[in-house]
């Protein structure tokens, strides 16, 4: 592909590299682009990445591992789109994605990305774990296979296979059972939703996953979906309509909020804790849902909800998006965004860092350990906080 054939050929040169994209909405620091926060070299900022993309597509610079790594170090957090004052800002991530698609087509992706995609191709998850094991997390929970219940509880790859995230998947399932929600899971029949695959630029693989999932859901008569992960929520809500799959979908925090409001979920048991909530990028900036998780937490007596200075649209991404929870291009330093974020959480004086995404969970929990903050701060999913309040282990 030449620059002329690139889908955003008319736009890619318009970035002025003014640097707004490094700031959060509240201008607090220049650390809000996770890749720039990690490396603090201009090449890793959004503007640097766009200029390098244009240079590569125009043959001004050659492909290199370093270039590929820079392109894949973007976590798709949309802070840049939120901050860029120019009119093409809505296309910033699209431009990155389209450049990645070109690298994918030429086979020139970093080794970790290749592994990720090959594992999804072969095993339906980026870890390369066996498909048959995908449903094991729900053993002995009483959670049933989906057979036409009101909701399909879609868990996703991280929740199905990561041992810590599996705890969240289980707890949420049990909370839903306690609330009398009619739901089922796909277990080993569940396949990757493709959100990260899409973000990594493997368009044809995403298409295949989406088409298969849509067919499966339709054959099973799925009417409503509730997801554990905001990544799945995003894909179903925004990208599956193109494949004739328009299913009403909720992120679980939205469902829990409704259940509490309708009196079906009793959280009056309460919990005494100072809690701070971390907005997941795919729920917050990508889909504008900042309130539902906060409403759930605020409904629990005894919880003192405190905000980090960078919250809502100003949130610092945990660094796990764009496949980075697996490829880990931003790890290995005290400047890794997850570590910066848990330090920010610790300054609120909160003892609980609440998350609503299994990717955030794994990234931030590892960061708490790396920062030596285990006795000060514990990372809990919103569903786990609700579970604890209801006496669900």
């Amino acid at each position: 592909m030449t620059l002329a054939e690139y889908k955003y050929a008319d736009t890619i040169h318009r970035c002025f590299r003014c640097g707004y994209c490094k700031f959060p909405v509240n201008w607090m620091d220049v650390n809000n682009c996770p890749a720039y926060a990690r490396f603090r070299m201009e090449t890793y900022s959004c503007g640097g990445r766009l200029w390098l993309t244009k240079a590569w597509l125009s043959n001004e610079i050659d492909w290199s591992e370093h270039l590929a790594q820079i392109l894949y170090s973007c976590t798709a957090c949309k802070n840049c789109e939120e901050k860029c004052p120019l009119r093409f800002n809505v296309d910033i991530f699209n431009m990155i994605q389209a450049a990645r698609a070109e690298m994918v087509e030429r086979g020139l992706v970093p080794a970790a990305v290749k592994e990720f995609l090959e594992n999804v191709q072969r095993h339906g998850n980026p870890y390369g774990n066996a498909r048959e094991g995908r449903g094991e997390w729900s053993q002995e929970t009483g959670i049933e296979q989906y057979q036409g219940q009101d909701y399909l509880y879609y868990v996703g790859c991280v929740g199905s296979y990561d041992t810590r995230a599996q705890q969240t998947a289980r707890t949420l399932g049990k909370v839903l059972l306690r609330s009398g929600v009619s739901f089922g899971v796909l277990g080993s029949e569940e396949n990757c939703d493709g959100n990260e695959v899409n973000a990594l630029g493997e368009e044809t693989l995403f298409e295949m996953l989406a088409e298969e999932n849509v067919r499966k859901f339709k054959d099973l008569g799925v009417t409503n979906i509730v997801t554990l992960s905001p990544h799945s929520y995003n894909a179903f809500k925004n990208d599956y309509a193109k494949y004739d799959g328009s299913f009403p979908v909720l992120h679980y925090t939205q469902l829990l909020r409704d259940l509490i409001t309708d009196g079906k979920l009793d959280v009056s048991g309460g919990m005494n804790a100072r809690v701070t909530y971390h907005d997941p990028c795919f729920l917050g900036r990508w889909n504008g849902e900042y309130d539902a998780p906060r409403q759930v937490l605020s409904a629990i007596p005894g919880i003192e909800l405190v905000e980090m200075e960078k919250n809502r649209e100003s949130t610092l991404c945990c660094g796990g998006g764009g496949g980075n929870f697996y490829t880990d291009f931003l790890g290995g330093s005290e400047n890794s965004p997850a570590r910066i974020r848990v330090r920010e959480a610790a300054t609120t004086g909160a003892s609980v860092l609440a998350v609503a995404c299994p990717n955030c969970m794994t990234m931030l929990e590892d960061a708490v350990k790396a920062e030596g903050l285990e006795d000060k701060l514990v990372v809990k999913d919103v569903s786990e906080i609700v579970g604890e309040v209801c006496g669900i282990g």
Binding site: F16, C18, V30, L67
Partner: protein
């Protein structure tokens, strides 16, 4: 790998030095029309000590060093014109101290305008700094170093007039402090110690500023801007003179631009007012818009477009996207206010000649002691011809400034030569001696202000 690379790795750590093609490519570019100049190393230090070691290394190995803050001067002043090290100072981004009683802030050289504005808003809401119109990634220290002006220019002057003290690393690696910080624990004043003004306005050719103390000013709870417009550019100097006489305004900007088309040929004045009570605001508004500007309104020479509460800080800059092109550059000048009409007329001619919609702006400095007048030329980065046009227009405008008896502000190499041609030889000689004294090996941002 060369030994310079290995030494740099030892000083700042492997992650903060790069000789890879991607970093060298990005650090070659200024965001204006200057041609790219490739560094040999991109380096991002964190401490003053690291900078000292880097400069000592650079002197030993005769490697040029170009200090880089936000890189938003747009005149190519932070480019490695002779290769060598591009020194990205933005990792040094700690706000060290805010002293409310003496109203000053001490920052490291990489602290950005937006970061400071946000910090003061959240922690010291009765204080503000004079924030320039550059994108908020611009650094405090960099703006000082080029004699920038912000939204308190009237009545408080250049940002470089607001310096209480500097910590500087000389090209040969020694650290110096100027101002009260050199004798006291406080950074509240530059005077009365012997004046050693060798680091502001020198485009980084005499040393690297690592810390700066800057005066802060009262921030009131009600802020807003009134808009006034006239058709006749000749009225602008007298209006500015009258408004500044009232001593009631902070920030006074006159501007005129071709886009949107209905505003072409009109001259707008943005008049910032602030107050801590409605009473104070009402008084100021009456003084300005009734008493001072009343007769222009009544005679039909001027129009009052209203007063909008709330100032957007940082200011949002969208000029670069005007030609959907990702770029612009401007000539800034420090001119007598009375030259506004000529600046506008002649500037408009140059723009139109080069097919660029004209954009001019004059920001009043001090008590109308001068104004910063700028002519902005947008270009399309994907169309080299528009860049050539912009470059030509910029050079012609540099010539114009001197023709109109003004001084070019932060000139690039083209403007520097014009200015040096006009300066008296004794001054040039002294500049040369100073440069040789401070930078005997000529490593400090070479290519700029080179007196032959």
């Amino acid at each position: 790998m060369s030994s310079v690379y290995e030494s740099l790795v030892e000083i700042v750590g492997g992650e903060h030095v790069s000789t890879q093609a991607e970093e060298l490519y990005i650090y070659s570019f200024d965001l204006g029309t200057t041609e790219p100049h490739r560094p040999d190393y991109a380096v991002a230090p964190r401490t003053t000590e690291e900078i000292q070691e880097i400069l000592r290394l650079a002197n030993r190995e005769k490697v040029p060093v170009a200090p880089l803050g936000g890189g938003l001067s747009l005149a190519g002043l932070a480019l490695p014109l002779k290769g060598g090290i591009s020194l990205d100072l933005k990792r040094m981004d700690t706000i060290l101290e805010v002293n409310e009683k003496s109203r000053y802030v001490v920052v490291e050289c990489g602290v950005s305008q937006g970061q400071l504005t946000s910090y003061l808003e959240r922690h010291h809401p009765t204080l503000m700094h004079s924030e320039p119109g550059a994108p908020p990634m611009a650094t405090i220290a960099g703006n000082m170093a080029i004699h920038g002006q912000g939204d308190l220019a009237h009545p408080y002057g250049f940002n470089s007039d607001m310096v209480n003290g500097l910590e500087v690393v000389l090209p040969t690696g020694e650290v110096c402090r100027f101002g009260s910080c050199s004798v006291s624990t406080q950074w509240y004043t530059n005077h009365p110690l012997p004046d050693v003004g060798l680091f502001l306005g020198w485009a980084g050719t005499t040393g690297i500023i690592t810390r700066v103390s800057m005066k802060l000013f009262p921030h009131k709870s009600i802020v807003g801007a009134g808009q006034f417009v006239v058709k006749d550019e000749n009225l602008i100097p007298e209006i500015i003179h009258k408004i500044t006489h009232t001593e009631m305004v902070h920030d006074l900007v006159a501007y005129s631009q071709a886009i949107p088309p209905f505003s072409s040929g009109l001259h707008h004045l943005t008049i910032n007012l602030s107050a801590d009570s409605e009473k104070e605001l009402a008084f100021k508004m009456e003084l300005i818009f009734d008493d001072t500007l009343g007769h222009y309104i009544r005679s039909g020479d001027g129009g009052y477009l209203g007063f909008n509460r709330g100032l957007q800080r940082p200011q949002v800059s969208k000029t670069s996207d005007w030609r959907k092109g990702g770029g612009f550059e401007y000539v800034g000048s420090i001119m007598p206010v009375e030259t506004y009409p000529d600046c506008y007329r002649r500037g408009r001619e140059i723009s139109e000649k080069h097919g660029i919609p004209y954009t001019v702006l004059g920001r009043v400095i001090g008590m109308s002691h001068a104004m910063m007048f700028s002519w902005t030329y947008a270009f399309n980065r994907a169309d080299p011809e528009t860049m050539d046009q912009a470059r030509e227009a910029l050079h012609e405008t540099d010539d114009l400034v001197l023709e109109l008896d003004g001084a070019i502000w932060k000139p690039g190499t083209y403007g520097q030569k014009l200015v040096m041609e006009r300066m008296d030889p004794n001054t040039l000689n002294l500049m040369k001696k100073v440069k040789q004294l401070l930078d005997p090996n000529g490593i400090m941002n070479p290519g700029n202000w080179e007196v032959s």
